[in-house]
Symmetry: C2
Subunit: 256 residues, 2 copies
């Protein structure tokens, strides 16, 4: 039974993966006008302001920007933005010389970094609806979040280069521990050093506090954090953030 | 003679100011195609990557993005982006309760924050040419950099609200001290607590180190830094950055 379930998940997941975050997917929702949607002056400004951390604590995408954010996410600009950042990370990695002690570390966030919840957020108007923990739990427990392709490529390069890759997620450990490992494996993320999820001790803490504490422990273990990639500023702020941080785009939700 | 000079500068400056950072100014350079220029996928990604501090130490705008950056700067999107950030800053200020001790402080950068060098950078292909200290000095010594209108409005609100506003600039104190004060006054920046420029002691230091040191001294004087606004991440990173930082856009140059 479990094997069948796993097989079904695998097939579904690859179906999902094969449609990818492509330019023409979901076009039924948009009906043309891409340039106009994407060039809305206010929405460009709103998106830049959130990506640069000028806006804090917003709960939903402004109503007048729902179609802008949808077009941004599914029509190629998001993919282009992620790709350019990954190219820059690869340039940075190529300049580093790792030591032999096995303590060169790299940190990746999970949701909207390794794995995409775009299909879930499609049902939540791409951030137009407020956070719905119950519905998100249902979605995440299926375990079929597709990989973000260029980040999966980066992950493989990191592992091959010799980095110890730590995946640090704000997901609750008890609820999501097992399914997250399965989801990551299903999507090709093999060889990470550790997947760290939010245990009881960190419940209710902000992302900045929780992730700083996790990084502090890694530092105390002797790891050198060369890079840190996340879609939220709370992944990248606080203490021991790493030698370089890289902010991936995410105009759909904000985690403090 | 000095009075005449000052008068001429004042007239010139207002001529410059009156043309403002308007949508149709400089249109002779562009010849239409705004949407296409502004929607270049690579250039949008490049600009987002630099605004989010994913790209470090770049010296010139990529050649394929010269017209994109020009269009961004002069056709209204830059103005829109600044305005949305200033609206957010005003919201933030309205929630603060200042104390009576006169130690509530705010920090503003000068170039591309209070004052615009857009007319200078027009002659440098909006960042397509590398930094030219000699030419920039010639330009800055004229002292007619126009105010960025929405920041001037913010500045006035800060002063009226009771903040002690510190203008901290990487400009060399010896060369630019006098002209910068005059330029700021000419543009309507009256009532700041101090204009701090780079003295001999800080020569050659990065912006992050120099500005952190200046802010440390303000903290030691007892000031509480509520906000810090700049167009460079080096204005906003380092130590004692303030309770909130706000990154203004600047795709034309990068200061480490």
């Amino acid at each position: 039974m479990e094997t069948l379930m796993f097989f079904l998940l695998f097939v579904m997941s690859n179906m999902v993966l094969s449609t990818k975050l492509s330019n023409d997917h979901l076009s039924r929702h948009s009906g043309g006008g891409q340039l106009v949607e994407l060039s809305s002056s206010y929405c460009l400004s709103w998106r830049l302001a959130t990506e640069t951390n000028n806006l804090h604590g917003w709960r939903t995408v402004p109503i007048q920007c729902l179609r802008h954010v949808e077009a941004y996410m599914i029509r190629g600009q998001y993919d282009s933005d992620v790709k350019l950042i990954v190219d820059e990370i690869r340039n940075y990695i190529d300049q580093l010389v790792l030591s032999d002690d096995g303590m060169d570390a790299w940190i990746l966030d999970v949701d909207e970094t390794c794995l995409s919840n775009l299909y879930y957020y499609e049902g939540k108007r791409f951030g137009g609806d407020p956070y719905d923990p119950h519905a998100f739990k249902e979605w995440a427990l299926i375990g079929i979040c597709p990989a973000i392709p260029s980040i999966l490529g980066l992950f493989r390069k990191l592992v091959e280069t010799g980095f110890k890759v730590f995946l640090i997620s704000g997901r609750d450990e008890t609820a999501f521990g097992q399914v997250t490992v399965q989801n990551l494996h299903l999507q090709g993320f093999f060889g990470f050093q550790r997947l760290i999820l939010r245990s009881e001790a960190y419940k209710g803490q902000s992302g900045v506090v929780y992730k700083s504490e996790i990084r502090r422990k890694l530092m105390e273990e002797g790891y050198r954090i060369w890079g840190n990639v996340g879609d939220q500023w709370s992944d990248l702020h606080g203490e021991f953030v790493g030698n370089r941080t890289f902010k991936l785009p995410n105009p759909m939700y904000y985690v403090p």
